[in-house]
Assembly symmetry: T
Homo-oligomer: 67 residues x 12
């Protein structure tokens, strides 16, 4: 079994907060893969059709290979 890690890059979406957007996407990945660490690389967003702020946070996630 490899001791190396693979890095995948995802964007979490939330209308609550930056931290919630991160929580969303990291926990979704951790249901299928062993997460070693994550790093926030970009914080963007928009005003949605209901006039609310939608946070779009890009996260790089390090996952164990063949775990």
């Amino acid at each position: 079994m490899s001791k190396n890690f693979e890095i995948i890059e995802l964007v979490g979406i939330s209308t609550q907060s930056i931290s919630d957007a991160i929580q969303q996407v990291v926990l979704e990945v951790s249901k299928q893969k062993k997460v070693g660490w994550f790093e926030v690389t970009e914080q963007r967003g928009r005003v949605n059709s209901e006039g609310k702020i939608e946070f779009q946070v890009t996260v790089k996630i390090g996952t164990k290979i063949n775990e």
Copy 2:
């Protein structure tokens, strides 16, 4: 009417959280302009005279020209 966008750069201030500082400044702009998207470029802050953390978040906001 132009299909191009103009980018303005603002700093939102909040003693609650990073997300609140972003919310403050983006919603203030969206009252006067059509906001396409925003991007966080810097997260600074200070300890104010009451000993509380004051978040200062710099945001680039893309706004429709001549909307």
Copy 3:
């Protein structure tokens, strides 16, 4: 007394939010030093043994010298 500032770099840890991790580490420093400003330089984290997100936020803090 010097009018210059020294910059120290610390990592705040929190299972609640990015903003809480920043609050933790800046207020801890401000008990011992006069904090002029702070800047977030990195936002990492991991999933801890209880399956919860742990935010690790790196902050540069400007402190008065010989205050």
Copy 4:
């Protein structure tokens, strides 16, 4: 009259090419202001509803103040 320059940041849109998106937005500004130079800072885009590529090119434009 000031000899300084102001920098404005705009996004040009084109379904033809990167160069056309730049041309669009720089020539639009040069109708109202004296353009000293421009610099491309970001090249993004999307696939529009007709399945065509839409280039979105961010450009910083240096314009003479009070010209």
Copy 5:
């Protein structure tokens, strides 16, 4: 179904132009996945054996998860 996006990174090749290299690789992906946006991150290339310029453009593409 997740509202999050995954980012994949590809290099488009073309002997015509930078824009054509982007078009190649983004339209190829959009046959299999719902493309939300793309961003150009690197523009390299070489002179091929026929003495022609070959553009190699690296593009990050945001695609809907489980669409």
Copy 6:
């Protein structure tokens, strides 16, 4: 009145020094707006027709909104 700040980007010109080019452009703005802070982002220049060095210093200036 908003507690937020707007950031404008200007280029100061001087044949004396980098610091003089900064002084020129920041003091010119401070006649019309409340300046919170400034940051130097680029230092370019040229040799003018009299063979003298002309410094062109790009500065981001944080100004109070609606002050």
Copy 7:
């Protein structure tokens, strides 16, 4: 068959050297895919439980699509 390339991002682990960590992860990938090139993007590490340095080197690897 596509002439484009896909870029994957992996972290190689070694207690010997930076170069060995790169060798590990690139050769592991080249058993399954045609490797065009690689680029080192980050060099981190830790002191493991036996008090030895463990190098963790992040590498972007360009692989031929559908080869």
Copy 8:
């Protein structure tokens, strides 16, 4: 003969397109040196005296030493 490469940095000029400016400068170099690869590092330009866009593209070119 050395197996190493030297990198030279040039700016291509064109009133047609970014790609044409790159083509201009890389092919000019390849008449005198063996070009291994090139990378675009900056895309600037101006509006010339005839009101046309002039693209100024900075390119790093890897050339074989003593070829």
Copy 9:
């Protein structure tokens, strides 16, 4: 005695010039430590209460360990 160096980060303040702000902080450190080199990382500032420019220059200083 270690042959390694430690890097400390300080901000020099001056109302005269960028160079004077650097001079201030580097010479202050060199009274207590053996300075190997310094590097300017940031140039900020403000307009002080007397309407004068105050330069705030961040400098990384390499100092000999246990000298």
Copy 10:
């Protein structure tokens, strides 16, 4: 006891290799502090008076506070 970490920045010196320069400086710190992780930020060097290559590698080291 704080759960936060402090980051110190050091330069390791070696005439053998980059990895040896890193080993030198990280293991020296780990004799006095609990090292959480390290990251290489710069790789410089010189040709010393004996004509040998001297590697100078800058490393940021995360250490437990009050451990």
Copy 11:
């Protein structure tokens, strides 16, 4: 005659100021080549054997080819 430019990178040395170090190296080049523009990329320095600050400023200089 080519309309392209070549970029050379030099380090100017001065014990007076940053601006003087730039002046030194740009004017030295302009005796032999037609200088189009220059850009400061790094500002380092040291304390010399007489205890004075020596500024070492790296400058990229755009020069006309075959002028």
Copy 12:
């Protein structure tokens, strides 16, 4: 004689290690020029036709002018 330095950029090639690739190219230059310092700017590579890793390390080398 000028006290300034010129910076040249080269790529060292080695199938052994990163450090060997650096050694190769810096020592080759130091046979013809007085080397002041070097800095690694990029670490790339490929898998060659014999299935071995080939390290390609880009190095900026500061050399004395007119030494």
